[in-house]
Each structure stands twice: as structure tokens, then as C-alpha cells.
Amino acid sequence: MARAVTPRRKAVNTAISWAIGLLIFFPIIWVFVLSFKAEGDAIKAPLEVLSSPWTLESYSIVQERSDYFKHFWNSVILSVGSTFLGLLVAVPAAWAMAFVPGKRTKDVLMWMLSTKMLPAVGVLYPIYLLFIQLGLLDSRLGLVVVLMLINLPIIIWMLYTYFREIPGEILEAARMDGATLRSEILYILTPMAVPGIASTLLLNIILAWNEAFWTLNLTAANAAPLTAFIASYSSPEGLFYAKLSAASVMAIAPILIMGWFSQKQLVRGLTFGAVK
């Protein structure tokens, strides 16, 4: 029998949830506030910051100094491109592991996950040298491949988990009706796993959008995305907090808006199969 929730208890739970939510979101709110302050006001005590005049000065300077749209466009290509390329590889791989598991499938899955624990800097030089040899340095193509590879274990794991929730009998029935492997994956499995694929897609776009190590180390002027745009406003010798905040808001705004509109999809996908 469900336990009755008193209005008082509900109000307390709501207040606690809001407080935790605000606490987690506070750094982003503060960055947003600082982005509308003059550089001299941004370093003041919090209450003084709030009472100081609001201005669009930092946005104007950032816009004048940097080519925001070039970086934005690079971010879009890198995150969307690497995610779609990853899905192309991961869907058949996850299908094989979920429906035709071998003796070593679990070991392979664990090995893939373990590659995420490898410090990226450990393979920086080999990859950098490969990029020089292949002429991929500072190219979007090279970065799409690298971002796809570093997120591939997560994509495969997520899809594998979703595919495992789909009864194998349905695929078996399709096969008995004469479906080829391609038709089985394209017309039976994929439509059934749409919520899972959608949340995998969204999560990996966010991960690729925020990736900073490879995007900073393998780019120069042409393929640099918004992570490089933000890095250009950070300085250990000079207080540029307002400009850095404005650049940060401009960099995270697109992905924040996308996350806001797709939050139901994301949550549904991430909790898919969690409660039976």
C-alpha cells in the first residue's frame, strides 16, 4: 500500500529539492551574473557584485575580439559528426553483444570501459604524430574521428544496456519471417530502441561538445571549437572574469538550451529499464 504523503512533508521535500538544485546550478547562475558586470565590479564581494550596474560590455568585447560563430560551427560539426559516426559503429557492435554474445563478450565490454580510465595525456604524443603523418592536425575530420573513438565505449555500453531490454524472441520472429540482418537491425531493433538511441545521441553530443583535452591539443586556428574559445579568455596574470564569464555563457548556452528542450527524452532514455 502506498504511504500517504502529508502536504507539510511534500512542501519540505520540494524545498529541499529546490535548495539542492540551486546549489548545484549556482556556479552557472554566478557565471551568468558576472557576464553582465564590468570587469572592475566582477571581482567585488558577492553583495556588491549584485548591486553594481548591469552591462553588455563584456559580450560586446568578446564578440569584437573573437569569431564566435566559427568556433560554434566547429563545435556543432565535431559533436554531431562524432556522435553519428559513433552510432554507426556502435549499433551493430551492441547488437552483436546483446543478442549473439560470445564467451568473451563481458570481458570485451569491460576492456572497452577500462580504456576510459586511461589518462588521455598518455596517448597524446602517438596520436599527435599520427595526425602529423596523416595531415589531420587542426582538421575537423581528424577530431571527429578522435571524439568518436573516445566516446565509443560509452555509446556501446548504453546501447548494449538498452538492447538487452528488448526480447530476443521478437528479433527471432523477424528472422523466421525472412528478415535479413540489415533489415532486422534497421527496421525491427532500431525503432524499438529509439528512446535509448535518442538519449545516447543527446548525451554523447553533450560529452563531445564539452570535450576539452583533445580539442585544445589537436587544433590551432581552423578546427578550434568553443572549448578553445573559452580557453582564450582564461589568464593566470590578469583579472578577466567578466569576459571569461561572457565567453562561457556564449559557449554553454546552445547545449544548455538543447538539454532543456530534450530533458524528458534524456531522463526517459537514461532510466530506460531501470525499474521493472
Binding site: K44, R65, Y128, L216, A220, S235, P236, E237, L239
Partner: protein, 433 residues
């Protein structure tokens, strides 16, 4: 704006018509006021030469990692790199940089301050041209010093600074007598404590590359620093670097601040600083041993050996580090904003003599000697660093041990013992011993 674009276009077209190869240079640089100003003035270079420029601006530590990867693999991602006095001698020696020994007579290489030229050369060959140079000095609040009944000498001792810091401290009004770097990192707290240790007679290595943290001068340095900061420094100074102290000083919460000379233009700027009209300057302190506690640094422009556009890159370097560029900045933004510390003639210029911190900056730069940085002889070059490839890694670890002392997590003796052991281990592994 339209006229400017037309002129620019006409120049590029004219250049093409006369057979000049217009190149696009990719330049990696740091994010600070002088470098950003240079980016804004690049049109002048394009107008004069036809070459265009693409900037890659990164935070200092990210830039260092990025350009090190590129130059050591001959990646060729950049045509010009902004590097410092630490990297230049090491990379020059490795053959990773293009020598700048054929700059034009008009450029007048002899006008570069000798300390800067020496620190950016290997065996007399210049490998990077200084864009601006800096040392460190004392910036202090004249009103608080007066209130404390003291007068700052032009060249004070550490004992005077400790006494003045205690006298200026007013905890009730959130005023700390002195603000200094305690943050871990070889370029943050590590740079400060190394420069300070020079004035206490300490050194990183003896002439056989043995670590010297087990000597009395190092114990004296750390004990003095910790004692003074606990008496008169801000709470949590173990995590304060340049920016944190700049913020405190600009808000009127520091009586004194010893740091980079480049900070003088920030603390005297009335738009950002609440104490802009109450700042005085003095040389970094000493202990009467013949060495002051100021450092020497330059941000310089160098051409990596992998660049395919060496001629155009040299043209850019000549433009950006010339007297003509200094005059261009002065005409647009005033003499207080020109890049300091690189050229002798700047300090002979009557217009620049009116800038309040100009003389003290020059005196500080001239009092630092990277070839003889310590009281006792050392096998390395560099004031706040030793110009060997292993130093950055070792000094970062050592400064982490020191920061743990500032945070009260271990004693001075424990930190020095650990520093001694880890430095000797690293030097042995690197084949110095």
C-alpha cells in the same frame, strides 16, 4: 571601418600585383593585456606587408603544453609561438627554434635590454625577440604606510617588510599587511619562493647538481615566509596566486604586494582599482647578501623550426617587437599601455619617464641577473627557475610540498626533507648525477 577595409584590401591587392607572396601566419599566444592589444593592432602589420594573421590565444599553462607538443614533434601547427625565458634557452639548444641573427639593421637588436637579450639567447645567438619583459617589485599602499608611521625605503630589507606588514595589518577592517603567492605551481608560488630564497642565500642546486633544500638558507626562507604570512597575510594564502592577490589589492585589502611589475598598470588603473591613487613602488626586498628577491621574465616571440613561412614570420616579429610598434600603441592607447621592459630606448624616452612605475620597473629588471642569480655559484641560468627541461616538473612538486606547509598540513622541516629527496631522485633519474 569601411575605409579601413578598403585600404587593407588595396594594400593586399597591391602586394599581389608586385609579386609579394602574401602569407597567413598562425600565431600562438597568451591571454594578457599586452598580447590582446597587439591582436587589435594587427591590421597595421597587414597593411604594411600584405600578410594576414590568425591568432590562437590560450591560457598560459595550456599554451605551454600545446606548443611544447607541437615543437617537439615538429608538427608545424604554428608559425610563431609566444614563449618565455624558461623555454627559449632549452628549445634553442635543441635546435627547435629558428635563430634570429639576421634581423634588419633598422630593427636595432642592440636596443634590446641586455638582461632580456641574454636570457633569450644561446651562446650569443638570439632565438626569441622580447615582446615585453617583467621583473617583480613591491607595490604598497602609501596611505596605510603613512598611517603606520613608516616610510618605505626605495630598496627595503625583509626585516623592514615584516615590521611594516605587521604595522599595516588591521584585521577588523579586513586589511592584510602583505599579500604574497602561496599557490602551488612552478610559475605561481614556486616562482616567488625561489626568487625570495635567492635573497636569503639559498639555491636549488650546487655546482654538482645536488639539491640544496637541506641547507640553512632554505629553512630560513620558508620559516620567514610562513611566519610573516601567518602574522600579516590573508587567510587561505596557500591557494593565492597572482589573480587572487591582484583582486585583494585592488579592493584595498592588502598593505603590500610583491609581484610582477606588469601588475603596476592594473593597480593604478582607476577603472578597476579602488586604490589607484594610493600606490607606491619599491624594489623587491633583500637581506644584505647582495641578491634581491625579484625575478626576471619575458614573453617573447619565436619561430619554430617546423614553420614553412619563416620570412613572413620574421617580418611579424620585427614589427611586433620594434620601436615602431611601441609608438603605435602609445599613439592609440597612451604611454602607460606600451609593452614594457624590452627596449633600452623606451626608458630614455621623455614621454615614458612620466609613467609612475616606469623607473622602478627598469630598476627591478636591471637588478636581476639570470646568469648569476644566487649568492653562491650555481650550474644553471635563470632567476626564479633553472633553465633545464626537468625543472618545471620538479618545481611543481616542490611547490606543492611548500603549499602544504602554508596550509598547515606539514612542518617546514618535513617539506624541505621531501623536496630534497624528490629533487635528488629526479636529477639522478635524468642523468645529472
Amino acid at each position: 571601418m569601411k575605409l579601413k577595409s578598403l585600404l587593407l584590401g588595396a594594400t593586399v591587392l597591391a602586394g599581389a600585383a608586385f609579386g609579394v607572396n602574401a602569407e597567413t601566419l598562425t600565431i600562438a599566444t597568451v591571454n594578457n593585456g599586452d598580447m590582446i592589444r597587439m591582436q587589435g593592432l594587427t591590421d597595421d602589420f597587414t597593411t604594411k606587408t600584405g600578410h594576414t594573421v590568425e591568432w590562437v590565444t590560450l591560457e598560459e599553462n595550456v599554451l605551454r603544453q600545446r606548443v611544447t607538443t607541437d615543437i617537439s614533434t615538429k608538427g608545424g601547427a604554428f608559425d610563431i609561438m609566444t614563449i618565455g625565458m624558461y623555454e627559449t634557452p632549452i628549445w634553442g639548444k635543441n635546435g627547435w627554434l629558428v635563430p634570429l641573427n639576421d634581423l634588419s639593421a633598422e630593427y636595432n637588436v642592440d636596443d634590446i635590454l641586455p638582461a632580456m637579450r641574454g636570457g633569450l639567447s644561446v651562446d650569443g645567438t638570439l632565438y626569441a625577440a622580447p615582446f615585453y619583459g617583467e621583473s617583480s617589485m613591491i607595490m604598497y599602499r602609501t596611505d596605510l604606510m603613512e598611517k603606520a608611521g613608516l616610510q618605505m625605503p626605495e630598496a627595503p630589507t625583509w626585516e623592514f617588510i615584516r615590521k611594516a606588514a605587521a604595522a599595516m595589518t588591521d584585521r577588523d577592517n579586513e586589511i592584510n599587511g602583505i599579500c604574497l603567492r602561496g599557490k602551488a605551481g612552478w610559475g605561481e608560488g614556486g616562482a616567488f619562493i625561489t626568487a625570495m630564497s635567492n635573497s636569503f642565500g639559498a639555491r636549488w642546486f650546487d655546482e654538482e647538481w645536488n639539491a640544496q633544500f637541506d641547507t640553512k638558507p632554505w629553512a630560513d626562507t620558508l620559516n620567514f615566509f610562513v611566519g610573516m604570512m601567518n602574522e600579516s597575510g590573508p587567510a587561505g594564502f596557500a591557494t593565492n596566486g597572482f589573480n587572487e592577490n591582484l583582486s585583494l589589492f585592488q579592493q584595498g585589502k592588502c598593505g603590500m604586494w610583491i609581484d610582477a611589475t606588469v601588475a603596476a598598470s592594473f593597480v593604478t588603473n582607476p577603472n578597476d582599482s579602488t586604490v589607484a591613487d594610493k600606490v607606491g613602488f619599491a624594489l623587491a626586498p633583500d637581506n644584505g647578501l647582495g641578491k634581491r628577491s625579484n625575478w626576471l621574465w619575458a614573453w617573447a616571440l619565436a619561430i619554430p623550426a617546423g614553420s614553412q613561412k619563416i620570412d613572413a614570420a620574421k617580418q611579424f616579429i620585427e614589427w611586433a617587437t620594434s620601436n615602431g610598434y611601441i609608438e603605435l600603441v602609445a599613439s592609440k592607447e597612451g604611454w602607460a599601455n606600451v609593452p614594457p621592459g624590452a627596449r633600452i630606448s623606451l626608458y630614455e624616452n621623455p614621454n615614458y619617464k612620466d609613467v609612475p612605475f616606469a623607473k622602478m620597473t627598469l630598476d627591478s629588471i636591471l637588478s636581476a641577473d639570470p646568469n648569476n642569480p644566487t649568492v653562491d655559484p650555481v650550474p644553471y641560468v635563470g632567476v626564479q627557475f633553472a633553465a633545464i627541461p626537468e625543472f618545471a616538473g620538479i618545481a611543481t612538486e616542490v611547490s606543492q610540498e611548500f603549499s602544504a606547509v602554508y596550509a598547515g598540513q606539514q612542518t617546514v622541516e618535513e617539506a624541505l626533507a621531501k623536496a630534497q629527496a624528490l629533487t635528488n631522485d629526479a636529477m639522478e633519474a635524468a642523468g645529472y648525477k
